[in-house]
């Protein structure tokens, strides 16, 4: 379409500024909702993937092929870790155990703490250190503890301070005495929700505080692939070496999450995207159809003056594209603002990690948004375009004079 077509279509729209403004605003409102639904449709997956990747481990090994929350413990931990470390594709293996504890406070209130047992060496960690250190210097003192910001703030802890934890690991009856820990660092744990109080220590200390026996078990093995190998190579190598283990690449975990986790949001985003697009289609189609109906005589006169059928049809299409395009542009800042508001609402859900977002921006969302709106603009213009294309010039001019 030549610039003169766009210019003429723009002038035609400006002719009825109220109507054009409402059209743009209507598209902006539904476009904002559409944009948000596109962000929502993959937001959790994108941020979940980012969370999984953030620690630098690209494979998770479990005891069974079952949902994370109901997984059984992995037996024969020592042998499994040794077998995995021996694989040439593997750079690092960190066994993880989960437990619970309560921290005694000076106010007498107990604070529930999620306790992570992880035997890290010199490489990657399943947390991001903010302050202090995260390698236990060893020695005869109390075991080392890394706390998250919430726990540090609520119990006024920092590197060098000490805290007593009572095991509250519901897996087994509590029989262990409270254990004193020495805080060596403050860290962020990727899967923490905004209110959670989390701490990490070595697996031996976790077992002591939880009162676990010396079962050679782990909840999870975090595995990092060697550079250039890739997660799938590690997964295949583990499956070949230890068929009893169930390794999953981050990709596979995300795929599983996509299958069952929060599918409600994907559904609602699909339903609302369809409704908003239909709404935009209806709005633009009605606006253009009424506008074309009111301009029949004028369009017939233009045809009589030598405008081709293609030219007047393109004029309608250009009007639709301008309305939807302008509305689409306005919808982006609106969509971002709305997404922030909706994110704040949804983040009040329990057990949602603070670093996980329902609305995560991806460039592809912008592309799909533009594509869907463009298709809507074309579809909405089809009927009025058909009206204009089939307009009989002479009959329309005659009818105008008669009326």
């Amino acid at each position: 379409m030549s610039p003169k077509v766009w210019a003429f279509a723009g002038r035609s729209l400006v002719r009825q500024p109220g109507r054009a403004t409402l059209g743009v605003l209507g598209v902006a409102a539904v476009g904002a909702l559409l944009f948000d639904m596109l962000l929502l449709s993959r937001g959790l997956l994108v941020s979940f993937r980012a969370l999984l990747d953030s620690a630098g481990f690209d494979v998770r090994v479990m005891a069974a092929d079952v949902p994370l929350i109901t997984r059984p413990r992995l037996a024969g931990r020592t042998a499994a870790v040794a077998a995995l470390r021996a694989l040439p594709e593997v750079a690092e293996v960190v066994p993880i155990e989960f437990g619970g504890a309560t921290a005694d406070g000076t106010d007498g209130r107990r604070l529930e703490v999620l306790l992570i047992g992880a035997d890290v060496d010199s490489g990657r960690r399943p947390w991001i250190l903010l302050e202090g250190a995260d390698r236990d210097p060893g020695g005869a003192g109390p075991p080392a503890l890394i706390v998250n910001r919430n726990l540090a703030a609520r119990r006024r802890l920092g590197p060098g301070s000490e805290v007593t934890l009572r095991g509250d690991c519901s897996r087994d009856p509590v029989s262990a005495p409270p254990l004193r820990f020495r805080v060596i660092g403050v860290a962020t744990f990727p899967f923490d929700d905004p209110g959670s109080t989390t701490a990490a220590t070595g697996t031996a200390a976790l077992r002591r505080v939880c009162g676990f026996d010396d079962r050679d078990e782990a909840d999870l093995l975090l595995v990092a692939s060697r550079e250039g190998q890739g997660a799938m190579a590690v997964v295949q190598a583990i499956r070949a070496r230890r068929p009893d283990l169930h390794p999953f690449s981050n990709e596979e975990v995300v795929a599983r999450f996509q299958q069952i986790g929060f599918s409600y949001f994907r559904q609602i985003s699909t339903v609302l995207s369809s409704i908003t697009l239909f709404f935009a289609f209806l709005l633009i189609a009605v606006l253009l159809t009424v506008s074309v109906n009111q301009r029949f005589a004028e369009i017939a006169a233009l045809r009589a003056l030598g405008f081709t059928r293609r030219r007047v049809v393109l004029d309608v299409l250009a009007q639709s594209v301008i309305l939807v395009g302008a509305g689409g542009l306005v919808s982006l800042p609106l969509g971002f603002a709305l997404a922030r508001r909706l994110e704040a609402i949804l983040h009040a859900m329990p057990e949602i990690p603070a670093a996980m977002h329902f609305f995560a921006f991806e460039p592809r969302a912008l592309g799909i948004h533009a594509l869907l709106l463009a298709v809507t603009a074309v579809l909405a213009a089809l009927y009025p375009m058909r009206l204009v294309a089939g307009l009989p010039i002479a009959a329309t001019l005659r009818a105008e004079v008669v009326t």
């Binding site: 003169k4 005589a297 045809r303 003056l305 030598g306 059928r309 002479a394 001019l397 005659r398 004079v401």
Partner: protein, 227 residues
């Protein structure tokens, strides 16, 4: 001798209606030569506007042929007919049909832009035409700010924009008072004198009387067998 500007040969135009077809133009032949200034008059419904639409390639005859500069318009597609209307024929309507969102000058520029005339050339041509119709000072006024006579003069300037060989006017004074109508007729005389072939459809005998060639229509036919 050159070919007629436009020639209708045994043209018939009928419209299908529920009660049976209505014939607006019956077996009519007419030749408009270069330099003609023709008026077609007749009572309402006699088929004069339909004939004008056929001559202007706006409508197609049900039967017969229409030759424009010797070319059979019936063999042309919609785009080619549009091109003929854009470059060879100028149209003036009873209700002006100026685009309300454009100024007088922009309305005159519109067909030139459509024909691909360069911006500088079309600005010069527009200024020349508005001056020609006596509206140079109203160039930047919108149609809603013009009187009926002024609007019709802008419409005439627009019709002349691409230097057509043939100017067709359908009841150009139908919406105007007598004095203003006379001014418009005077403008057509001037356009004709400057070399453009003009065909005016009117039911006003006074206007018809002022043209050198006068045709009368009744029941879809030219009276007295005029060609």
């Amino acid at each position: 001798m050159s070919a007629p500007v436009v020639e209708a040969r045994a043209v018939t135009k009928s419209f299908p209606m529920p009660a049976g077809p209505v014939v607006a133009v019956r077996d009519l032949s007419l030749s408009i030569e270069k330099g003609d200034f023709v008026s077609i008059c007749g009572p309402s419904g006699c088929g004069k506007s339909t004939l004008l639409h056929i001559l202007g390639c706006v409508d197609t005859p049900t039967d017969g042929r229409l030759l424009v500069d010797g070319t059979d318009a019936g063999t042309l597609g919609d785009a080619q007919r549009s091109a003929i209307r854009l470059s060879k024929i100028g149209f003036v309507f009873q209700r002006f049909f100026l685009l309300p969102m454009l100024t007088a000058a922009e309305n005159v520029e519109l067909p030139q832009a459509e024909a691909g005339v360069a911006r500088g050339d079309r600005r010069a041509r527009t200024a020349e035409l508005l001056d020609y119709v006596g509206l140079a000072r109203r160039a930047h006024h919108r149609p809603s700010q013009l009187s009926g006579g002024e609007a019709q003069r802008v419409a005439i300037a627009r019709a002349l924009a691409n230097r057509p060989r043939l100017l067709l006017a359908d009841e150009p004074t139908g919406e105007l008072d007598q004095a203003t109508g006379q001014q418009i007729v005077g403008l057509f005389e001037r356009v004709h004198a400057d070399g453009t072939t003009v065909v005016v459809v009117t039911h006003d005998p006074a206007i018809a009387g002022s043209t050198p060639r006068r045709l009368a229509m009744r029941d879809g036919r030219l009276e007295d067998g005029a060609r």
